[in-house]
């Protein structure tokens, strides 16, 4: 059983690792959009900076979000980040796609997805995430995609050209604790994606407007973007392990050697519950319910001990 726990511990990145966030609010083209993009980026900046932990945040808005500043910011991350760190690039604004190349609209010269990808390649962080919330962002996925880097795009293709609202709900996801659906006191990239995706769809639905954006992600390296996670194909697994924000004291217990046995037991029970869920279809409902209840009760008692 101890080996299960060890495996689990190996699957997560070291507790001391940090996350580097670079957020860029691009050119709005008109005051309303400029204001909206800047507000979203500024809100995100506050949320990230107040979330604690080993977080490094660079936010570029308004006249500061030039191509040169973006390159400089990514170069700085490339200098500071370690392989065990995580790196997240968030693009807010308008994008264009001419069928070949995606460009992110910035004050002055625009920047292409290829250039952004090249600058991000210099960053040693093994786990990277690019969240492109712009119009036509689907056209950037192919350029960004590489092993160890997940891509989230607000539109499924480069041809969805209307201004998007995904960014609004992406920011909201990191602020709203209800996006933490598994209640582990952390918001993972997949939870934030699911939240923003659902809220975006609900917005168009409630306004009786035809949805002009359909968010997708690619996190398997198969170069196939998808709209939802799948336990069968493994899509979404990388994002579910990619923590963006920690809400509580989830990491505190790891620092306490006296609780290591309890933590190992907890992890064992969590694995057991996960396994049970995967076996649910093959089990009788009564048997499933009984085994699940037993495991959950035991897990609750272990957690009670850990919290003492």
């Amino acid at each position: 059983m101890a080996s299960v726990g060890l495996l689990f511990l190996c699957a997560v990145r070291p507790a001391h690792a940090g996350t580097f966030f670079v957020t860029v609010a691009g050119l709005g083209g008109e005051p309303d959009y400029d204001q909206r993009f800047t507000e979203a980026a500024t809100d995100l900046d506050h949320i990230l900076k107040s979330s604690g932990g080993e977080i490094h945040v660079v936010t570029l808005t308004g006249p500061n979000s030039t191509r040169q500043h973006v390159e400089d910011a990514l170069a700085q991350v490339a200098r500071e980040a370690k392989p065990d760190d995580d790196f997240v690039l968030i693009l807010i604004g308008h994008g264009t796609f001419d069928g070949v190349e995606y460009k992110f609209n910035l004050p002055g010269p625009d920047v292409s997805a290829t250039e952004l990808a090249a600058w991000s390649d210099r960053i040693p962080a093994k786990r990277q995430l690019i969240v492109n919330t712009t119009s036509a962002s689907g056209g950037s996925i192919a350029a960004f995609d590489r092993p160890g880097r997940a891509v989230i795009a607000a539109t499924k293709t480069g041809t969805e050209k209307n201004a998007t609202i995904f960014a609004r709900y992406w920011v909201e996801a990191l602020r709203d604790p209800t996006s933490d659906v598994n209640k582990n006191d952390a918001i993972s990239a997949i939870e934030a994606f699911d939240y923003a995706n659902a809220k975006t769809a609900a917005f168009y639905d409630s306004q009786k407007r035809l949805a002009t954006e359909h968010a997708v992600f690619e996190d398997t390296g198969k170069h196939e973007s998808v709209r939802a996670a799948s336990t069968e194909t493994g899509e979404g697994l990388f994002l579910s392990n990619f923590t963006l924000i920690r809400l509580g004291s989830a990491q505190k217990a790891f620092a306490d050697p006296a609780k290591r046995d309890l933590l190992a037991k907890k992890e064992e029970l969590e694995q057991k519950i996960d396994t049970l869920k995967y076996q649910k279809a093959a089990m009788s409902p009564d048997d499933y319910k009984q085994q699940l209840t037993d495991a959950l009760v035991e897990l609750a008692r272990v957690q009670q001990e850990i919290d003492k």
Binding site: T178, K183, K208
Partner: protein, 739 residues
Amino acid sequence: MNRALQAALAGGVIFCAAHAAKAAVTAITPDACATLRKHGKTPEAHSCYEALSQQRDPYLRAEGYWGLKMYREANDQFRQAVAQSDANPLYRVRWGRLLHERFNNTDADNLFKEALQHDPKNAQAYLGLALVSADGFDNAAIDWDEKALALDSNLIEAHELMANLALEDSATDLAVKEADAAMALSPDALDAMAIHAAVEVLGDRPPDAWFEKIRSVNPHYGEAYALVAHHLILNRRYEDGIAYYRKAIELDPEDWSAHSELGINLMRLGQEDEPRRELELSYANDYRDAATVNSLRLLDSYKNFVTFKDDTLTLKLQKKEADLLHPYVEAVAKKAMATYEAKYKFKLPGPVQIEVYPDHEDFAVRTLGMPGLGALGVTFGEVVAMDSPSGRKPGDFNWASTLWHEMSHVYILTMTNHRVPRWFAEGLAVHEETQASPEWGDRVTPEILLAIRDKKLLPVTDLDRGFVRPEYEAQVIVSYYQAGQICDYIQSRWGADKLLEMAHSFAKVQPTADVIQQDLGISAADFDKQFLAWLDGHVGKTAANFDEWRKDLKDLAEAAKAHHNDDIIQQGQQVRDLYPDYVYDANAYEFLAQAYEAEGNKKDAAAVLTDYEKRGGHDPDTLKELASLEDGLGNPAEAAATLNRINDIYPSDEQLHRRLGDLWLAQNNYPGAIREYSSVVAMHPIDAASAHLSLAQAYLAAGQTDKARENVLETLEAAPDYRPAQKLLLQLEDDNKGK
């Protein structure tokens, strides 16, 4: 001798057979073929049209193909005919008639208008325009037809159309007069005879003599029965209408229009299998108008619906929202049934079926071919179809009020055997909405105020026309309001029982003027005068103030934009009082509340929004703001009541249910809290774990530990590390062990 000529001769229409066959064939005319068909000589007519289709003249070929139901070929030939002889209006008129018959009214309309450019006095072109307009119950149909008759008073078809239009408007005398005019011009005016038959059927008198006349001309003229069916359906006599469509099909099994109508109307009565067969039959035979195609699509979409049934109620809800809407719709429907059963002293013979459509297009299929707006709900006997609250923007309508309205129709139509004029059924239903809740029902909107001010209300005896064939854009809405106010007036002056008495009088097929004279003791003309005086006492001042209000509201909006709170507070009340029923976009209530809130005066903000709520304001965000103010001012019960009202408007709101659940749980209203948290769960929220946990807590508070345990397990299955759920699970475990 060729087959066409033999047939033509057998039909007795043709001329001299002694000449060469070629000469005889060239003498065959579209009119001759049409006459054969009109007299039921189908094989002969077929041969005649076949002969036409072999003529050199593309126009004649077009008529021939059309008669043979080879519509594409006919269309091609008409195109060729027009290309060859652009100035001949006849070709365009006939082409337009073909397109009208084949469901393309847009192009038909254009062709008739083009024909008029070539010949401004072409009566047939005006008739064509009238036919196109008549399809959509457009008032222009009457104008066009009048023009056609003014140009050619011998145009039989125009008289028949006028008779039909008049009967649709319940103007029976005019219908009979026009039908007689047609028959005076031709003893074969079958549709005029059918109008007479319809008049008899609608009056519950035997139509046999008229059908006998029709049979003597054409024993297979099923269209006469279909015409009667059309009028029965318009008068909401669906069962009777269906019976007549069946007779039409019996006489002419290839009347695909009748098959389609039969299918559509069987659907309206809640059936699925036979309608599908009938509609598929029509479709397979190339009868593919919008109603047929869309009805088939709707039938296909029923796989996405789920049905809840008990002895008195069948609910058909879209799967995605069924669990959410079920408790709310069922509660309102059951309450309405109990209320109407007692009030109308009538028990429905069978269960009511309520269909709720989240896709407005699906609902719209239900109202195709029906007059009036049909905007929110429609009742077919004991079947109600309505828009789902999720089918429209939040705050667009109060679905509970709409359902209450439709349920009134269910009772009134059933108890009067569907013999009640439209104005009375609609007026009573609107009246019942406000009787159920003063916040429900129609407010006096700006267009209604303008109609009142400009004296556009119809006499009560003509009020049906306002619903069926509106003369101006807002007339349907105005007519709903007027009819509702008439019922309010009758109740206030003669008492509520008088309305029931009138319903029973209408059931005896008495016209409005007679019912008013008999039951209210005054003439319809006096009734109109006294009603208008009463209405003037209620809204006359508001109508007179309309222009001043509009100007002041604009100023108020400017002040709000500039955040001039003092000005808003100073002027807002006066603007509001000029037109207190105005609770729509940019209303004085919201401007005032925002100004009060900006000044930190939450009490007055809450007070003004309470007025808004009582006046029927139904913007969910504004009502949620009121609830927040009420809660903040220490009135959680009022806050809960306000939020609960939003359930009647837009229940597809997760946060609404969470807040209301929390408020009711804190107020020990456990059933209410359970319902609200269940609604959160039913919405499949992103945060399912916390939704199940809240529900578990409500169940636990209500003493339902099994359900509490079930839900806490659901919570932890989704989020095994959720601390509050773990605690609750352990509490339940410990309680269980302690027993």
